[in-house]
C-alpha cells in the first residue's frame, strides 16, 4: 500500500458513541415514487455507473475492474451474461459482471442492479460513454467525474 494522502481530522472522533448507535435504526427509509419512475426510464448502466464512486484496494482489483468495464463497453449482451470475473481475493471465475459492479462501485443513488436490463442497456451509446469515462478514470488514477 502506498500512502499518498494523509488527512488530519479537524474534529475529534467519538468512537464510543459511534459504535453504540450502530444498530439503533431498523426503520426503512421512504422510497419515492419519482425515484422509481425515473429508474424505469433510465439506462441501467448509466443509472448505476454515472457519478458512482469506485472503491478498490489493490492493483489486481483495479485491473479486474478495468477488464470487466472493457467487456461491458464492447461485448454483446449474451456474452456479458456468461462472463465471470475474479473476486476481491483474486479467485478467478467467481463474480458475474453485475456482482463485480456492486462490489466495487457505490452508485450516486443506491439501487440494486437489474441484471436482465444491465447487459441489454450496455449496448446503447449512452451506456458505453459512461463506461468509457470510468475506464479513463482508472487509467488516470482518479475518480470519474459525475
Amino acid at each position: 500500500m502506498n500512502a499518498t494522502g494523509v488527512f488530519k481530522a479537524v474534529a475529534a472522533a467519538a468512537l464510543g458513541c459511534a459504535l453504540l448507535s450502530c444498530c439503533a435504526s431498523t426503520t426503512p427509509p421512504p422510497k419515492s415514487d419519482t425515484a422509481a419512475a425515473s429508474a424505469a426510464a433510465t439506462n441501467e448502466v448509466v443509472w448505476y455507473l454515472k457519478g458512482a464512486e469506485r472503491q478498490a484496494e489493490t492493483y489486481d482489483q483495479r485491473r479486474e475492474i478495468r477488464r470487466a468495464l472493457e467487456d461491458l463497453a464492447s461485448l454483446p449482451a449474451a456474452e456479458l451474461r456468461r462472463k465471470r470475473y475474479a473476486d476481491a481475493s483474486m479467485q478467478p471465475g467467481q463474480w458475474s459482471l453485475a456482482t463485480l459492479l456492486q462490489k466495487y462501485f457505490v452508485p450516486a443513488d443506491l439501487h440494486s442492479i437489474d441484471e436482465q436490463r444491465l447487459y441489454d442497456d450496455a449496448q446503447r451509446p449512452e451506456a458505453r460513454t459512461v463506461v468509457r469515462a470510468q475506464i479513463q478514470a482508472i487509467d488516470e488514477n482518479r475518480q470519474a467525474t459525475p
Binding site: F7, E53, F105, Q143
Partner: protein, 141 residues
C-alpha cells in the same frame, strides 16, 4: 435486515448497519462498495451526506465525504500522527493511521517513520493492519 447483513463479505465491519432498504419486494440489501469508507466513518464518527449516502446507523460509506473538513497533512512523513486518515491517490481506498514508529537511533538520514494503517481489506477479507514503511505522501502541513 439481518439476512442482508449476512450476505456481506467477511471484511466488512461493522456489518449489521451496512445495508439499505430498497422496497417492499426486494427488502433490505447490502450496501454496494468495499466498505472501506464505512469502516473509517465509524471509527472517526463521520456522518456527512443525505440519508441515501449513509448506512443505517448514519455513517457515510463513500470515500470522498470522509475527507470533508479535513486538510492534507503537510510537513513530511514525520508529521503523520496516529488517528490521521489515509487515502489512496485515486481516492478509491481509505484507512486510518494506527501506528507511527520513528526511525531507530543511528538510522540513515531521511529514513522515514514506519507507518501502520488499519483498513477494511477486501483483498484480505478482514480488517487488516498494513505496515507501510515508505509512504509517498508529500508533507507540507
Amino acid at each position: 435486515m439481518a439476512a442482508a447483513a449476512a450476505r456481506l463479505d467477511a471484511h466488512v465491519t461493522p456489518r449489521v448497519c451496512f445495508v439499505w432498504y430498497e422496497n417492499t419486494r426486494a427488502g433490505w440489501q447490502p450496501i454496494p462498495g468495499t466498505g472501506c469508507a464505512h469502516y473509517v466513518a465509524h471509527q472517526k464518527n463521520i456522518r456527512y451526506g443525505s440519508q441515501g449516502q449513509k448506512c443505517v446507523a448514519g455513517y457515510t460509506f463513500r470515500v470522498a465525504p470522509c475527507l470533508t473538513g479535513l486538510t492534507q497533512v503537510t510537513g513530511g512523513l514525520g508529521a503523520v500522527q496516529v488517528g490521521d486518515i489515509w487515502v489512496s491517490v485515486a481516492r478509491d481506498h481509505t484507512g486510518i493511521v494506527t501506528g507511527v514508529v520513528p526511525p531507530a537511533a543511528g538510522a540513515a538520514a531521511n529514513t522515514p517513520p514506519a507507518i501502520s494503517i488499519t483498513h477494511a481489506s477486501s483483498g484480505q477479507k478482514k480488517e487488516k493492519k498494513t505496515r507501510d514503511a515508505a509512504p509517498t505522501c508529500s508533507p507540507s502541513r
